[in-house]
């Protein structure tokens, strides 16, 4: 067993599960989408990205790009939240909540792709 592989798989899966946890629930209801979960998803996603740095293989490149997409979507969601709460002061209306959650939904898709690649990679490995 390779500890590095364990950590790698752990963070990729954790990024996807946290993201899913935030995403699940009625899209317009702010009470079902905790901001803590969004923050945790963003942090874990960033760590997963850093773990993918410096791999020159083709699969490594796709891994990195899916993570970058997830980061981008989650950062966009976080900024949307911050603007609504603090800059314009409209608060978490159904409109704002749904746009934050749908952005995180995009990130979830990227994270799922990432997990699929991880599984494919593992299946291809015959050791």
């Amino acid at each position: 067993m390779n500890l590095e592989k364990v950590i790698f798989g752990f963070f990729i899966l954790l990024a996807a599960t946290l993201n899913f946890g935030f995403f699940i629930g009625d899209i317009g209801n702010p009470e079902l989408h905790s901001v803590y979960e969004l923050a945790a998803a963003l942090v874990v996603s960033l760590i997963a990205t850093a773990l993918k740095f410096g791999d020159r293989t083709q699969i490594g490149a796709i891994h990195l790009s899916t993570s970058l997409v997830a980061d981008l979507q989650l950062i966009a969601a976080a900024i949307t939240w911050a603007i609504a709460e603090h800059v314009t002061g409209v608060g978490m209306t159904a409109h704002v909540t749904s746009s934050v959650v749908s952005l995180s939904g995009g990130a979830l898709f990227a994270n799922i792709v990432s997990v699929i690649i991880l599984i494919v990679e593992t299946v291809m490995l015959r050791r």
Partner: protein, 562 residues
């Protein structure tokens, strides 16, 4: 993306993750610790947005003093912890980055990338010099002098750094890498469209062999010139078609034998093959008769074989000698051995061991015993130049110089090899006459030997004139383009027309399009004659004396008055 970028990312993985984790801990903590409002009552903790903002300016130690609201003591406690945590995280990142920049492997990657990019972007024809020791250095300097671009691969990093100090006119990419590895050769432009040839001149025969094979296989169209001191290696190189194999010892032995047999022809060949625009060497007149040869290694064998062919009687002194009749054991540095070898009636001596100091000692001792002696000294290291110059042997042989001369001569004028083949047809008087002409033309320096084909690429103006049916005599081309009464100091050596060769064409030789001409001249005269051959106006002036501008209006006016 290049490999340096990936290397940075890979090495920065750990610090980046540490930073993200520290930020996450600090921000999460701040969103949990309750705050205090203006009246001192407990209030809600900071939101994520404010917490991120606060940590961002605290962690980077910018210390921007704007706090959203005054902190509670609980928040202050947590922030104190955060400050230390984040400073550690940032320091770790910065230290790792600095260590990475100083890392030898990383710098090598950067240098290699830059070198490869410069070679890729080269737009000039260039030669690839493998090994830039004494030989490679001499070749590089000569190339630089005549404005030929080149790329250097050298194993020793120090030598590459020294190259930077040499202050070349041309911008020369050089890389410290092992030329035996095909990847490095490719990096240095072996398969580049502009690569015109490879010179394998390292001091290691095996490396030269490896380079020659790699060139033959990876880019079979370009010539490779290889240095080989061992016969077996030379034979190996010849077996797979190395274009030119240079054995400095045999080459020198050949010229020494030629100098004995035909001094004037030797002088001519020496003039034409020496490094361009260097001071003339003194003429050598090695005598016939009895010679002593000290040192019977590879050099000694080559010299002995060829000197005996010219009828010279040879006595060999060598520490390990003893296979022939008049051979004497010793290194020749003591007077007794030299006397035993018959120094008093000898006419010449070759100090040919592989130790410079011994060679000088032999030469000095022999000269004291017999001042009339013709002394040939072998110099192994260019660093000992001062000693050998101070001693002033009749004939000094420096292997690195022999190789460099041959490389330059072969590369700068491919036609020169044909000329040298035909020099045998000239008798001694003709050779002497030609040497005098060359010396007069070049005023104390050695000539630059160059060739030019009268075609659309190399001599467009002249080619066009010839294609229009104009009759041009060789002599009329050689006038100075500044004042056509004066003649350029250029000596035409050979004309190649189809498969025919004409040695030393006369001034009334009528040129044809497609002729290839071999000239010897100073560098400045070469530039002028090339201009004449390229520029229609210059050519017209040189041939007819008409000095017009060549503009359309000028041509119209000239047509009206004519």
């Amino acid at each position: 993306m290049n490999s340096a970028f990936f290397l940075v990312l890979r090495r920065m993985r750990a610090p980046i993750i540490v930073l993200i984790v520290i930020y996450a801990i600090a921000i999460f903590g701040l969103t949990l610790v309750p705050g205090v409002d203006a009246e001192g009552k407990a209030s809600a903790p900071l939101s994520f947005f404010h917490a991120f903002y606060f940590i961002s300016y605290t962690a980077t130690t910018i210390g921007f003093g704007e706090i959203p609201v005054a902190f509670s003591d609980g928040q202050r406690l947590w922030v104190t912890i955060c400050i230390y945590l984040t400073v550690v995280g940032w320091s770790y990142s910065v230290v790792t980055l600095i260590a990475l920049l100083q890392d030898k492997g990383f710098q090598n990657t950067l240098i290699t990338n830059r070198f490869a990019r410069r070679v890729r972007q080269t737009r000039q024809d260039f030669y690839l010099i493998c090994g830039c020791g004494e030989t490679g250095g001499l070749i590089a300097r000569s190339f630089d002098h005549i404005g030929q671009a080149f790329v250097v691969l050298e194993k020793d990093e120090l030598r590459v750094e020294e190259l930077d100090l040499l202050d070349f006119k041309t911008d020369t990419p050089a890389l410290a890498a092992d030329a035996r590895l095909p990847d490095n050769l490719r990096l240095a432009g072996l398969c580049h469209a502009k690569c015109r040839g490879v010179l394998a001149v390292t001091n290691d025969d095996e490396a030269n062999l490896a380079i020659a094979i790699a060139v033959r296989l990876l880019n079979p169209d370009i010539p490779v010139i290889a240095r080989a001191e061992q016969k077996s290696v030379a034979a190996n190189m010849a077996s797979f078609g190395t274009d030119h194999i240079i054995n400095p010892y045999e080459r020198f032995a050949d010229s020494l034998a030629l100098a004995v047999a035909a001094p004037e022809r030797f002088r001519l060949i020496e003039l034409l093959t020496s490094l361009p625009e260097t001071p003339l060497a003194e003429p050598h007149q090695p005598p016939h008769g009895h010679w002593i040869l000290c040192g019977y290694g590879r050099f000694g064998h080559a010299v002995a074989e060829r000197l005996r062919n010219t009828g010279i009687r040879l006595t060999i002194i060598d520490p390990a000698a003893g296979d022939a009749d008049h051979d004497i054991i010793g290194d020749g540095t003591e007077a007794s051995t030299l006397r035993q070898a018959g120094i008093s009636e000898a006419r010449g001596i070759v100090a040919g061991s592989n130790n410079d100091i011994n060679n000088l000692s032999i030469a000095v001792t022999a000269h004291e015993l017999n001042p009339e002696l013709f002394v040939v000294a072998r110099q192994n290291q260019a660093a000992n130049n001062a000693l050998f110059a101070a001693y002033g042997a009749d004939f000094t042989v420096l292997p690195s110089r022999v190789i460099a001369q041959e490389c330059i001569a072969l590369l700068t004028a491919p036609l020169l090899a044909r000329f040298l083949d035909r020099v045998q047809q000239l008798d001694e008087a003709q050779c002497r006459h030609l040497v005098e002409r060359l010396q007069a033309a070049c005023a104390g320096l050695t000539p630059v030997v160059w060739d030019n084909r009268l075609n659309a690429a190399e001599a467009p103006a002249c080619w066009q004139a010839l294609m229009h049916g104009r009759t041009i005599e060789l002599g009329s081309l050689l006038a100075d383009a500044a004042d056509r009464q004066r003649r350029l100091p250029v000596v035409p050596l050979l004309v190649e027309r189809g498969t025919d060769y004409l040695l030393l064409p006369a001034d009334d030789f009528t040129l044809q399009a497609g002729d290839q001409l071999l000239f010897a001249s100073p560098l400045a005269a070469q530039r002028e004659l090339e201009l004449t051959l390229r520029n229609a106006n210059e050519l017209d002036y040189v041939l007819t004396g008409n000095d017009h501008s060549g503009s359309l209006l000028g041509k119209l006016l000239a047509g009206r008055t004519a």
